[in-house]
Structures are given as C-alpha cells and as structure tokens.
C-alpha cells in the first residue's frame, strides 16, 4: 500500500544540541550564579524610576489631581490611557500560557513564563492608575462591596465597578497560574542551589515538590483547570475595560465594536511587549536556542493578524460614522482625522496600520532587528490609540462650547515613566531570581520527551521509529 502522505518534519522548537540536562543548566544558571554588574546597573535605573513614580504619586495625593493636565471636558487623561495600555500589555502572558496551552501550541513554552511575569507586572502597573486617578484616594475602598451600617453599596451598573472586579480577578488568576507553573522549576532550583538561603527560600516556594508521579498528576490537573479559568478572562478583561468607554454616551466611545477591537489590540500590544523584552533577554542570557527565530516568527504572525484586526476596526469606525448618519459620531471621526489631535491620529495610523503590513514578509518576520523596532512602534501606536480614544473623544464631544484641548503636565509624564520603574524593578527581580523559561515545560516539547518516536542517535523526532524508547531504568510509581 502506497502512502499518499508524507511526514513533513516540523522545525525543532528548541534549537541546538540540547539535552534535558543542558536545558536545566542553561536556565537555572542565571538565578544560581552571582549577580552580574550589569544587573545592578539596570536595577538601579529601574529603582530611580520607581522613586519617580512614588514621588509623583505622593505629590498627587498631597496636592490633588489638579497637578495633572486634566480639564473640564477631559476628565480622564494619561492615567486612564496608561491603565488601558498596561492592561493591554498584560494580555499576552495569559493568552500565551492559557489559550495556547489549550490549543496545544508547543512553542509557547519558550516564552510563557517570561510573558506571564510580564503580564503580572504590567497589570500591577495598570492597577495603580485607576486607584490613584480618583479625587479622594483615601475612600477608594468604597468601590468594593463591603457591607456597612449605611447599606451603601457600590453602583453595580457602573463599568468602573466591573473593571474593579475584572482586573482584580485577572490579576489573581494570572498570579496563581504563574505560580503553579513555577513550582516544579522552583524545586529544580532548590535542588541545585548551593547557598543555604537559596535552598530554604526556593524550598519554601516549591511547596515540598518531590517530582513524584502524584505531584505531576496534580500539577497537570491544576494547570489545566487554571488554564481553563484564565482563558475566558483573557477575553473578558479587555472587554470590560472597553466597556468603560463603550457603555458611555460619548461619541467615539459609544461603540459596539469596542470589545473585540480592544481584545485584539491588547493581544497585539502584549505580543509586541513580549517581543521587545524577549529579544533583549535572549541576547543577554544566551537563550537564543530556546527563544529562537521560529518562535519570533510565530509571534510576528500573531501580531500581524491582530494588527490587521485593529486596523479593520479603525476602518469600521469610519464606516459606521458615515453609515449611521449620526452627526456626533461623524463629527468625532472627522475631528480625529483633521481635528486638534490629528497628529495623534496619524501617528496611530502609521504605527498600527502601516507597521503590521511589513509582517507579511517572511524576511522581516525573521529579522531580529526589524522585529525589535516594529515591536516598539506597535506599543507606541497602541498608546496613541488609547490617547485618541480617551482624550480626543472627551475633548470634542457634543457641545462645541465646552471643547478644550488637553495637554499633559510634568506629573502625567513622570507618573507614566515611573511605572516603567515599577515594571522593570519587578521584572529584573524576576530575571535574577526565577527561572525565566519554564524548564519542565520546555523539556516537554523537546524530542527527547517523546516516549515513542525519539531517535536517540540523531537526537531528533523520528515518526518512523515506533518502538517505545527503552529507558534503562526501573520505573517506580
């Protein structure tokens, strides 16, 4: 019987001639070796920015939201832009870990740990803004449904309240998911650590992991459940964030296209951020074999798709403005294009509509330098998208008499830059002390992990080899 199909070998997910042991060494060496000087430099810089953030927040609380550039029509400015931007960035991690896990995308293992960490820190940065942007931060807890003697409940029909629940749930699940995934690797570090402090610290964090079959069995189930829980959250968080705008009556906000458009935009910016960070980290930490060009290309493809979804949404906004016959929607769209913030609109168009088109070309998708530049441009573009939505729509809405122009103040900028301090402080701690690649999971997608079709001689996956690998070892359960 002749076959009419042929095995097409997939590119190996982990390049180089790696064994399980070499992978473990490669990844575990960073947390376990002495701190490099460069790290101190980077951490110092991040700390300076973090102090800027704390200072900006301190002054904000001391003096009032007036230190920002807000005015009467534009009640939300950079704070909300930054919130949406950071939350958007925080989408990549969970998408990569949860949705791609459920879809059995093996390549996710190269970046999932990294992306999840980024997610958590990005959501932390995002979470700061809704808290500090209120006028009276000392009563911010009123947004939580805390039973009280006055029976004063929050207003459950307010999208801001939905935000509170959506973002906090997302953060909690992401954190748990990340932590659960870390457990086997923490145990590896515990086992490999030489210093007592490290042994004890990693030991406590590893929750007594022994690597037993039962451990693995529980772990896999927990991971699967959390992935299942996290999957809808990936879609819901930014949907709900988009409700902040879509549920209002303001032209440019009041739009049913917002939820999918926001989610696509979030994934777009999240992948861009992962790429930006990954391309630096792989170089510094010598992880080119794991975070390799194939992975980068796959991420570029996701960016291309989501970028074009976003571009389509812009197009639809214009179409809907025209087709609806709704003069205010037409007005705001026209003002986007030629109005006071047109410069922002055209930056956005370049960054988010033109840039992803380069990704149609395989050469570009596989070019590290160009990808790095594109990933940064995309995040600039996504920031401007939120800028246009928040500020331009608010500044020029129904009543032309109330129109005004929004300009940020020094403190707006300081707060935004400061959040990078917070982000990188945590991220650098993560890079320094935790395995930045999921060791156990990467091993799972290596050819060696295949019990049936692994060719030990070539160190390749070989479908013709159907014999189970005889492991010269006693299987104990």
């Amino acid at each position: 019987m002749s076959t009419d199909y042929q095995y097409v070998p997939e590119p190996k997910l982990v390049k180089g001639d790696h064994t399980f042991g070499s992978i473990t060494d490669l990844i575990a060496k960073t947390p376990l070796s002495p701190t490099p000087k460069l790290w101190y430099l980077a951490f110092g810089l991040a700390n300076i920015l973090l102090i800027v953030l704390l200072g900006a927040i301190g002054y904000l609380i001391w003096d009032g939201t007036g230190i920002w550039g807000l005015n009467n029509p534009a009640g939300w400015g950079w704070a909300i832009i930054n919130f949406v931007w950071w939350v958007g960035i925080g989408h990549a991690g969970t998408l990569i870990s949860a949705i791609l896990f459920l879809f059995r995308q093996g390549w996710r293992t190269a970046i999932n740990r990294f992306a999840e960490a980024m997610t958590i820190f990005a959501v932390m940065c995002a979470g700061i803004f809704p808290a500090i942007h209120v006028g009276r931060i000392w009563v911010i807890y009123w947004v939580f449904p805390i039973p009280n003697q006055m029976a004063a409940w929050p207003n459950f029909s307010s999208p801001l309240l939905w935000d509170v629940f959506a973002v906090s749930t997302y953060f909690t699940v992401s954190l748990l998911f990340w932590y659960v995934g870390l457990i086997p690797d923490l145990a590896t570090l515990r086992d490999k650590a030489k210093s007592k402090v490290a042994k004890i610290s990693y030991g406590i964090a590893a929750l007594g992991w022994t690597g037993s079959f039962r451990n693995w069995w529980n772990y896999e189930k927990a991971y699967m459940i959390l992935a299942g829980l996290a999957t809808p959250l990936v879609l819901s968080v930014h949907t709900i964030v988009s409700f902040d705008f879509a549920v209002s009556v303001i032209p440019g906000w009041h739009s049913t296209i917002f939820p999918p458009y926001f989610v696509a935009g979030a994934i777009y910016s999240g992948f861009a951020m992962v790429l930006t960070l990954m391309l630096i980290a792989r170089k510094i930490y010598g992880l080119e074999d794991i975070m390799n060009i194939d992975i980068m290309e796959k991420m570029n493809l996701v960016m291309m798709i989501t970028g074009n979804l976003v571009a389509f949404a812009y197009l639809m906004e214009g179409f809907v403005a025209w087709y609806s016959g709704y003069i205010y929607e037409q007005g705001i769209f026209w003002l986007y294009v030629v109005g006071p913030y047109a410069w922002g609109f055209w930056i956005l168009m370049f960054c988010n509509v033109v840039t992803p088109q380069f990704l149609w070309f395989k050469n570009i998708r596989r070019n590290v330098a160009i990808t790095f530049v594109i990933s940064i441009i995309v995040n600039i573009g996504m920031w401007f998208e939120r800028f246009m939505i928040s500020v331009a729509s608010l500044s020029t809405d129904f009543m032309p008499s109330a129109w005004d122009y929004y300009s940020p103040s020094f403190w707006d900028i300081a707060t935004y830059i400061g959040t990078f301090g917070l982000f990188f402080t945590f991220f650098l701690l993560f890079l320094r002390f935790l395995p930045m690649v999921a060791i156990a999971e990467v091993k799972g997608v290596m050819p060696q992990a295949d019990p049936h079709n692994y060719d030990g001689e070539t160190n390749e996956f070989d479908p013709s080899k159907t014999e189970p690998v005889v492991v010269q070892q006693e299987q104990t359960v």
């Binding site: 947004v143 303001i250 122009y405 103040s409």
Partner: protein, 1017 residues
C-alpha cells in the same frame, strides 16, 4: 460635516504647530524653580493666598472681628431664628442710580443680594455688579484705616483736623466726587457750596452721562436725562449703545427687562419689536439685534447725520440736517431705517452710546422728537442732583488751576481720578499742586497715595444712605452689618468736613427724609425701610421742544463730520470690572466676559480682517498664549494681547479700561493692562489714525470657550419671526434635522408611547412619588441677552470658589451655569447667540449610570443630585455628561479660597451657610438650588399642616432665575399643570438639548426668534 468644519482657517481654530511649545510651557510651569508661577500674581496659589488674605499692614487694634461679635448670641435677638435667614430691603448705588435690593442675612451677616420686587429699576432682578457687591464688602484688601501722610491715623484725628482746617471758609476748595443721587449727599453738597465761598464741585465719572446731558441741552436747551422705554417701542435703533450692559448703562436691569418684554413671544401670532444695532464693538446688545451693522465708532456720526438727512424730508424739525451728504448717504441701511422709523412714528426709539459726542445725542434727541417718540417711548427727565455744567470741562479747568497752584484743598469723594482721569491731564501730578488733598475711598488706591488724608469708605451694605433710581424712585440704603473696617460713608465724611464733628449717617439720612413726610414721619420712614422704596415717584418729566439754537448748532456740527479712514481705537469700560472699581472682585474677574468669554484680562478686540492685516492669528482650541500688539496713540504706546472678535468693525480696535492696577489688592494687582494712558480728553471714546503693530510677544489668556461655532448641530435653535410663523414647530428635532427622532417610530409601534425606548427598563419605569413635586426648568433663549448674571448669582448662592486665572486657563472653571456664546454665519459678520447651560437634571442621567459608588442619584422630586460625601472623584460622571456641566475640584479650591491668609474669616462670611463647601477631589454641579427648594418644601409642609409639600408656583426661585433681568429662566413644579414652567414647556418653541440621546432633561429651552428686516437680510 458642516461648512464651518471644512473651512480650516479660523473656525477650526487649531494651532497644532504650536503644540510642542505649549506643552513645554505647561511642563515648565509645574516647576517652581522657573518661578513663572511666583511672579504671576494671579496664579492659583498666589491668588488663593490673596483671596482669603488680610492685610499685614493693617493694625489689629482697630480691626473688628465681626465673627466674634455676631455669632454667639448670649442674648437672643427677638426676630432671629438660627439657621433661618432674614431678608432686609435696601438699595445698591451704582454711579448715581440706585437699584432696589433685598439682602439675605444669616445671623447678622449679609450673604446674598437679590433684587427688590417693589423697586421699579429692579423688579426683583439684579445686574452682575449687584450680585458681586457682597464679595466687594467682604474684600479683605479694602482699606482698613485712616491714613495721614501714609501713616495710620484715626477718624477722630481727621475730625479734629477738619474742625481746624475748614474753619477758613474762604479757601479755594475743590470737591471731586463720584456721581451720587443721594438726597442727603446732595443736601450736604449744597451746604458745602454755600458754606465755602470759593468752593467748586466736580462730579467726575470716567464713564458717565455728561455727553447725553449736553446733547439734550443742545437739542432742547435743558440738561435732561433720557429714559428709553424699550418695551413700548416697535422699532429700536441703537447707535453704538450697549444699553443692556451694566457697564454701559446705569439702568441696564430695567432696560433688559423692558427690551425683552417688547420681544416676548408666546405664539406665532404675537409680535415683537425690531431692533437695529449699528456699532463697532460686538456688544451683548448688538448680539441681540435683529439686524446689526458693524461700522467704526467714528462712523457713527456721519451715519446718524445721513439718517437725519433722509428723515428730514418727511418730518419737521430736522431741517438742519437736510441736504447733508456723506459717505453713508447712499448706504443701503439709510432708506430702510428711515422707512421703518417713519412707519412707526411715536413708536420707535433711537438711542446713541453715552460716550458719543454731545452733538450726536442732540441729533438723536431731535430725531426722537421729530418722529414723535419723545413723550411716548422716550421720556426726558429733570434730575435735580445733576450739575449745571459739564463736569468733564470742569475737571480740565480744575487741573489747570491745580497746576497754577490756585487750589488750597482738594476733597475727593470716592472717585479715583489719579487712575481714571484722561491721561493728558496728568491729574496725579496736578494733585501735588494742592495744599491739602483729602480722599475717601474703598481701597488705598492710586489717588489715596497722593493724598495727605485717606479715609476708608464704608461699603453700601455697611452704612446708612439714600438715593434715587435712574428714573427717580427714592430709597433708603440700610446697613446690613457694622462696618467691617470701621469705614465711614460719604455723607458722614462730608458732614465731618462741613461741621468738624462726627455724626451718624442714620441721623443725617433721617434729617433729610423729614422733609418728605409732612406728617407722621416715623411710619413713613418705617414703610420706606420695609419696602425699600419710598413711593413710586419719578423725576419730573419734561415735555420737550426743539431749542431755537438747535438748527444753527446742528448745521455747524453736521458739516465736516467725515470720519477718517485709518485705524481707530475705541476705549470702553470693561464689562466686568467697569472703570476699574470692581477690579479686586474675584467673582467678577472670573466671570467670562459676555462676548469673548475671557476672564481675568482685558484685550484688544479686532475683526478677523483687521487681525489678518496685522498678521495676528486667533487663539486655537486650548491655546492660552495669544499674540501681543502695541497700540500707539499720540506717542503713548500700550502693549496688550490681541483677540479676534468676529463681528467687530474692520479697521477698529476696542480696548477696555480698569485693569493693570498696582497696590489695590491682590486680585487686581498686575491683572491685565492699564489702558487709561491711551484715553485723553480728545479720545474719550475713540481715537482715530492710531498705529498698531504686532510685537511678536505672547500673553496667556484664560478663555472659557475656545470653540465658537455649533458645527452644524442644532444645540441652540433659532429662527426668524417669519420662519416661526411659517413653521411653528421649527424647534422640534424633526424640523431641525429633517429626520425622525431615532427610536420614536419603533417605540410607538411597540408600546404606543411616543417616548423613545430605553434599554434600562427599570429606570425607565422609575416611579416618582405622587406627593412629591417634580422640578423642571425652562430657559427662554429669546429673552436671554447673554449678560452672565445667572453665573454670578449662582456663584454667590452656591459658594462656588474663585480659582484664579491659571486654573481657568487650564479649563477648570467651576461655574455651575455657563453661558455659551456661539457665532453663526460669516466669520467677519456673524450673528451671536447666547445659551445658558446649567445641569439638565436628566431623568435618564448618563452620569448616574456610570458612577461606581452611586454618588450621583435621583431624588424623589426628580432632581439629579450629587452626594459630595460619597463622591470619590473618578470624574466618570463628568466624562459621560453630554452637556459637560459637571465641575471637578481638581485642587482644594474652596479650602484655599477660604482659609489662606491671616484673616480668612472675612471671606468666609460671604459664604452661604445653607450650601455645603466642597472638598478637593469631589464633583459638583448645578443642584437646582436644592437648599431653596427644600426650604420651600418644608415651609409649605408646615403651613399646610403636612397636607402637601408642593410649594405654590413661584414660591421657589433658583438663584439664576431670580437674578435674571430678562426673566429668561422659569422654574417650578411639573406636576402643577398651571405652573409657569409647565406652560412654557407646552409652548411650541420648547425643545430639549440633545434630545436624541434620550436623556430626558428636566431643563428645556425655548428657541430664539429674531425679527430681521427682510430688506437687509
């Protein structure tokens, strides 16, 4: 999109290119080391330091602390119930016209001024100056003590000085005073002139009615006050006369009421007057015109003569003008106006701005007489207290005598000529030629510092006085509080000079008033105090005839009246600070000027065309920096910011005075530019052939409305009378947009209800309790003149803080009711429309939907309420408000306004105790004056023994409604089918703002109707 949007040059008004610079400046300002903020006297911090502040210079020994004196009642006065305000009738003098007021008094401190219903000049309404007077009284920067040669002295020392100094009755004394209608004051004035043989009296007002009086003198041989009854005229022609503006007319409230009465329309069958305005500056009066012609102020003269010449063929009495031919003789307006005026004889009014030459007033008076208007729509009154001679000439003579050293003593009463006198007189220098200068004034001002004696004047709310309204109704001014700074009133001051003894103003006024009551003085006096009006009497009306000399005089001035073609400069009083006397009033400084919406500054107004010639660009959206021009008149140059005012006459620049003061108070100092140096005896109104140049500098202006067009949106619906008659329902959504209201057809189909559907059914079906009133408001845009008194009345009633120029320029103004001003039509010659916008109190309020903590909710009586205590300040409600009426406390405005300085209690006393002070970080907005509503509900419930809590119609008025001289605002219970507000809402001109959003506002508008002459369209 609308035409305006496509035209990018001006209307879009966007300066994208300057963005980076502007941004850098914003950044720069945040840094104290750049110190721009510290230098800027009106930046937020310095301003707030100012407002609450007291005077470090002030001595504390004489400083009374009225809070301590008034608050604790160890012995309760009989009529006072703590928490319940008392209302006393009084009157507010402004120049020599009195307006009746009722003062709200909380436990002994006046907090709010309302108009007096019984007073003919007020009829319950006030002007912006009336509303702001409370803050003037509580101004901590007012002069607090007597000064002798700049050193602190006392009233007793002054009294001793007077006894000594004025014993020489033969010395040359010059009294220079403000215009004052007080019978007591004028009695003392007569006594002074009798006692001092070489005394002269000069009534100097930088903006007064001298020229008008002189004009009637030329026309009728008598100095008479002109009173226009705008309600009884069908045709009104105003030449550069801003008679609706309190800064340009002493009786603006009455003018406004009468003007809007004559244009009140309830159905298409009603008629309305037709108003023609011919003016250079776009004034609020001009913005209410049916037909407006913009010509230079210097062209008003030939225009009037051309019209007179045209009329002279048809009416007798104008023969002096016949045959005059000038550049306006062939103007298209002349025959049209003549025809209208001739058709409406005895039924029209011609009026000319009071600063115009006497000859123009004479010509207009002659035309009014010739057309039969005199005695019908225009009356002429003999005003006893007016001087016999022209006071401006007298001031010139005085200056000459001062310079020659012929004056021994100058007594200045209230007036501030060192600041306001024509610049060429150098009055400040001339004063040094006098032996003694004695000055009574509110502030230690420009003139005070030149005087040997300075006395601090008591505010009219602090001292006894009296006076007459513009038309002659007498009232007593009752003090509401002990003088805060122990000031003395004008009459006490004059009496001390006359007699060398101190006497109480109370006795002086009573002494004068003895003569008005032949019998039973006490009851008459008490009645006058109670009512605030003695009796409705008028200055004697004169039946005028043309003076014999008129023809020859008119012949003289009508020849050679060709105006120059060069650039002219028009100098006018400022619409909020007037001649500078209100410059230290934060409420007035922060009130947007009606036509430009600029706060805290004076600017050089010019048309778009003139600006293009000068290469000056208009400020764009959110652009605070505007270009500065240098204006040179006869060698004197003043640099000031240029502002493009659509509708201004070409080749003409208007500036206002009263700004750029020094050493007055921390609000006034260094705010704006002093333009008096350009005003000389020959240029009292305008200067011709001036030179203007762009300087290349920029200046920060705080303007509250950056965008001037409606962008084709039907926000302010208006039509001509003819269009209204053709389509009485033109104000509907369907007519405005030529489309059906979204959702209505579907709603009718599915529910049979024509209200649009809501997806929020629970709210849609919200039931309002049957025993509750349901509040609603309507605003008649046909009545609204755009004066802005609603804004300032609301500020006074609702404790709205003053935030300073820097915060306003950042777009954070706090006014709960703003007055939108849109331009419609050609950029060079647009129509202007005014629309007051308070909270709409939507039944389906978008703000309530989005607040995460339910801080803004609906009350049972249908009001959208803001719970300050619950607000956490997300600003989501303000974002989601389609009307953008919510205001946020970005900083702790109120606290800083009320606690800064070493004597903050003074400003605190101006606050209304019935309204909560808002803390930093909370949202606020119009409450429909809920404190007044609830007081009325409680009172009604008590009066009816709990039967109802629905107050009778008209028994509760919002502050804006109460103050409005045009009666443009209606407020009441919608469940009462007979209420005024329900009637207005049933009118076919009634419409809802942004009705298509289905917010169901409780506030609605009545569309504006114009009655233009189709021949001039």
């Amino acid at each position: 999109m609308s035409e305006e949007v496509k035209n990018p040059n001006y209307w879009k008004s966007l300066g994208e290119l300057a963005r980076n610079e502007e941004y850098e400046k914003f950044v720069e300002r945040e840094f104290p080391e750049n110190a721009t903020e510290l230098n800027d006297e009106v930046s937020r911090r310095s301003f707030l330091r100012v407002m609450g502040a007291s005077i470090a210079l002030a001595g504390f020994a004489a400083c009374r602390r009225p809070v301590q004196k008034i608050l604790p009642y160890s012995d309760m006065p009989e009529e006072v119930t703590p928490g319940k305000p008392l209302f006393y009738a009084s009157a507010m003098p402004f120049q020599d016209a009195l307006t009746g007021i009722v003062v709200e008094n909380h436990e002994g401190r006046p907090t709010k001024i309302e108009g007096n219903e019984l007073h003919p000049a007020s009829r319950g309404n006030t002007s912006i100056f009336g509303q702001a007077a409370i803050l003037n009284m509580y101004d901590p920067d007012r002069s607090r003590y007597v000064r002798k040669d700049g050193e602190r002295s006392s009233v007793n020392a002054f009294t001793d000085f007077c006894g000594d100094h004025f014993s020489d009755t033969a010395q040359n004394i010059a009294f220079v005073s403000e215009a004052n209608s007080s019978p007591t004051y004028n009695r003392l004035k007569d006594q002074a002139l009798a006692r001092f043989s070489n005394a002269r009296w000069i009534t100097y007002e930088p903006f007064g009615e001298d020229n008008a009086l002189e004009g009637t003198n030329i026309a009728f041989g008598q100095r008479l006050r002109t009173f226009n009854q705008f309600d009884s005229a069908d045709v009104i022609v105003a030449f550069d006369d801003d008679f609706l503006n309190p800064a340009a007319a002493k009786n603006s409230e009455e003018n406004t009421r009468r003007f809007t009465d004559g244009r009140h329309i309830e159905s298409p069958e009603d008629g309305m007057s037709r108003f023609y305005a011919i003016e250079s500056t776009f004034s609020i009066t001009g913005s209410n015109a049916d037909n407006r012609l913009r010509i230079k102020s210097s062209d008003i003269e030939p225009f009037i003569y051309a019209l007179a010449a045209e009329l002279s063929d048809s009416v007798s009495g104008l023969s002096a003008f016949s045959g005059i031919s000038n550049k306006y003789s062939d103007h298209e307006w002349i025959p049209v106006l003549a025809e209208e005026l001739l058709e409406n004889r005895e039924n029209s009014i011609l009026t000319v701005g009071r600063e115009h030459k006497p000859s123009l007033h004479a010509a207009v008076a002659a035309m009014n007489l010739a057309l039969g208007n005199a005695g019908q729509t225009v009356s002429y009154h003999q005003v006893p207290h007016l001087d016999e001679n022209n006071s401006r000439e007298a001031l010139v003579n005085l200056t000459e005598d001062l310079n020659a050293g012929r004056i021994d003593t100058v007594v200045l009463v209230g007036t501030n000529p060192a600041f306001t006198a024509p610049a060429d007189l150098n009055f400040a220098d001339a004063l040094s030629g006098a032996g003694q200068v004695i000055h009574l004034s509110d502030y230690y001002d420009e003139t005070s510092s030149l005087a040997q004696w300075h006395l601090n004047r008591a505010h009219f709310l602090e001292a006894w006085g009296d006076g007459s309204s513009y038309t002659g109704t007498r009232s007593v001014i009752q003090p509401q509080i002990e003088p805060l700074y122990s000031g003395i009133s004008e009459i006490e001051f004059l009496n001390t000079i006359l007699t060398g003894e101190q006497r109480d103003g109370y006795e002086l006024v009573r002494e004068t008033w003895q003569s008005y009551y032949t019998s039973d003085f006490e009851s008459g006096w008490k009645q006058a105090l109670h009512d605030g009006v003695a009796a409705e009497e008028e200055f004697p009306t004169v039946s005028v005839t043309l003076s014999d000399n008129f023809s020859s005089a008119a012949g003289d001035f009508a020849t050679g009246s060709e105006a120059s073609e060069g650039m002219e400069l028009v100098i006018r009083p400022d619409s909020t600070v007037f001649d500078g006397r209100f410059a230290n009033n934060g409420w007035l400084q922060e009130l947007p000027k009606p036509m430009t919406k600029i706060t805290w500054d004076n600017v050089a107004l010019m048309s778009k065309k003139t600006a293009d010639q000068l290469d000056v660009t208009a400020a764009g959206l959110g652009e605070a920096e505007v270009e500065v021009v240098a204006i040179t008149v006869d060698g004197t140059t003043v640099e000031m910011p240029a502002w493009v005012q659509p509708g201004h006459a070409d080749n003409s620049i208007t500036i206002t005075v009263g700004y750029g003061r020094e050493g007055i108070g921390r609000v006034a100092n260094k705010t704006g530019v002093d333009t008096y140096p350009l005003r000389t005896t020959s240029n009292m109104l305008y200067a011709s052939d001036i030179s203007v140049e762009k300087t290349g500098k920029t200046y920060e202006i705080a303007c509250t409305q950056d965008h001037n067009t409606m962008e084709g949106r039907s926000l302010l619906r208006h039509a001509t009378l003819q269009e209204y008659r053709d389509d009485p329902n033109f104000s509907s959504y369907e007519s405005s947009y030529n489309a059906e209201m979204p959702g209505v057809a579907y709603a009718e189909e599915t529910t049979g209800d024509s209200d649009p559907l809501s997806i929020f059914d629970a709210i849609d079906e919200q039931e309002y309790p049957a025993d509750e009133p349901q509040w609603g408001m309507s605003i008649d845009l046909n009545a609204c003149t755009g004066c802005g008194v609603c804004t300032i009345a609301c500020t006074a009633e609702n404790n709205i803080p003053v935030i300073g120029k820097r915060e306003v320029s950042r777009g954070r103004e706090m006014h709960w009711i703003r007055n939108d001003r849109y331009f419609d039509g050609d950029v060079n010659n647009p129509k202007a429309l005014h629309q007051p916008v308070p909270c709409m109190h939507c039944e389906l309020a978008p703000c309530e939907q989005v607040c995460p903590v339910a801080a803004t909710t609906h009350s049972d009586d249908g009001m959208n309420q803001m719970t300050y205590n619950r607000c956490i300040g997300t600003r989501y409600c303000a974002n989601n408000c389609p009307y953008k009426v919510r205001r946020f406390n970005f900083f702790n405005y109120t606290k800083e306004f009320l606690t800064e300085g070493d004597d903050p209690e003074i400003v605190q006393m101006a606050m209304n105790p019935e309204v909560t002070i808002r803390f930093r970080g909370v949202m606020e907005k119009c409450t429909y004056c809920v404190q007044r509503v609830n007081r009325a509900k409680i009172e009604t419930k008590i009066e009816t023994d709990g039967e109802t809590k629905k107050p009778a119609d008209g028994s509760v008025e919002t502050a804006c409604q109460q103050a409005c001289p045009a009666d443009a605002i209606y407020f009441g219970d919608l469940t009462d089918p007979e209420s005024e507000v329900v009637k207005t809402k049933k009118n076919n001109r009634n419409y809802l703002l942004l009705e298509e959003l289905n917010t169901r506002p409780r506030t609605s508008y009545l569309s504006k109707i114009r009655n233009p002459n189709p021949k001039l369209a």
